[in-house]
Amino acid sequence: MNSGHENAVPGRGVAGSFESCDALVVVTLPLPLPGGGASASGGVSLHLESPSLAVCGERMRRVALETLRALDVNDADVAISDRGALDCTLAARVETAVRRARASAEVNRP
């Protein structure tokens, strides 16, 4: 399982694991600025590492980006370490990481 303490970083959410058929996903969202609003949008930066990058990389990237879009995430750093996750697993881990990142950013709202 993931090392939960990484979720304690404001704006960061971690989900998944390095187990077979899973993926470890780290999502970092921009923190809200004091007085409201967020920092300027830098778009989505996606870093993907997988043993099957050459064959499945494009599809995995698409699944991750579609999941982010469905969650209205337009500005985030996303790092995925894949260990053979199916699409449904990857989407679940990305969604969980986003929700945890949002919760963490909310807790640390200035």
């Binding site: 989900a15 187990e19 996750a85 449904c88 697993t89 679940a92 881990r93 969980t96 929700r99 945890r100």
Partner: protein, 301 residues
């Protein structure tokens, strides 16, 4: 009459992608995807989302899909239902049931979610789990709390801890609960499923406990490892000898009926209506399990 085959119920941890995806390949009659005890507090959110996605993406062939939610008395139970019910699981396993209200509260929530998700109201069934002294005391009201209840289960470890008993290999401490639960299930017209056997390496012990449960009238048993499935199936599937004897009873009474008598002798023993009832149960179970000889397929329909 059809028999719902629930010889084995395989617990599958809700936050393990590999096990969620492969759960269907082991041949369990029932798959119990667990959001409760198998998932630590810090991973409840992750398991719920992962299981939702798996249920919408993976087809589990003929297995009954059951989800064990967290109790509604925890911060997780209601959200489990919100996320899982729209995926149309066949059945919800409700932990730590102590009163009828523990069932009717889930019934109300599931009913609302079925309506909101376009699912026929009442189609999702329930399996309450008895895990405490109070639950055991109230097992009859739990079994009859709502038409969704389709089977009763119990949690041996929690129950023995709650009543202050010593956990033994032969299950002496569970005798009263098993008897009570079985009677409540039969009065309610639902199935009774035995608890897990936690020594995964002991096939002989598992078979013996399963066989004794079947003798008591139980319909199946929960398992915690795929290797336990064939052992449990062997115990809960009628043997060729049982099937042959049941067929002789059925034929003997049919012959007696033709001759105008209600009691006949088969294999040197008196056979009447209750014996036929038991024989028919054996044949129904054998047919559901695919263990009936082909030429007999139509005889017990």
């Amino acid at each position: 009459m059809t028999t719902t085959l629930r010889r084995s119920s395989l617990y599958v941890p809700g936050n393990n992608p590999s096990m969620l995806i492969n759960a269907g390949i082991y041949g369990a009659d029932v798959l119990v995807f667990d959001l409760e005890d198998a998932v630590p507090f810090a991973e409840k959110d992750a398991a719920r989302i992962l299981l939702r996605n798996a249920l919408s993406a993976v087809r589990y062939a003929s297995a009954e899909v059951v989800v064990r939610i967290n109790s509604l008395s925890t911060p997780f139970g209601r959200e489990d239902l919100d996320v899982i019910v729209p995926q149309r699981p066949d059945t919800i396993r409700i932990p730590k049931c102590e009163t009828a209200r523990d069932v009717t509260d889930v019934d109300r929530a599931v009913g609302e979610l079925e309506a909101a998700s376009g699912i026929e109201r009442g189609s999702i069934r329930f399996m309450p789990i008895i895990e405490t002294a109070l639950g055991a005391w109230n097992v009859m009201e739990i079994a009859t709390a709502c038409p969704r209840v389709t089977a009763l289960n119990f949690g041996a470890e929690d129950y023995t801890a709650d009543i202050g008993a010593i956990r033994t290999k032969d299950g002496t401490e569970l005798a009263d609960l098993r008897a009570r639960m079985l009677l409540a299930a039969r009065v309610a017209g639902v199935q009774a499923l035995d608890s897990v056997y936690s020594d995964v390496a002991d096939d002989d012990g598992l078979y013996e406990e399963s066989r004794r449960a079947r003798i008591l009238g139980f319909d199946g048993k929960s398992v915690i490892h795929p290797r336990q499935i064939p052992v449990v199936h062997r115990a809960f599937t009628p043997s060729e000898k049982e099937i042959a004897a049941a067929l002789r009873v059925e034929r003997g009474l049919a012959e007696g009926k033709r001759m105008g008598v209600g009691v006949v002798v088969v294999d040197g023993k008196m056979v009447d209506a209750p014996v036929l009832k038991r024989a028919r149960k054996v044949l129904e179970l054998a047919r559901a399990a695919g263990a009936l000889p082909k030429e007999e397929e139509s005889s017990c329909r």
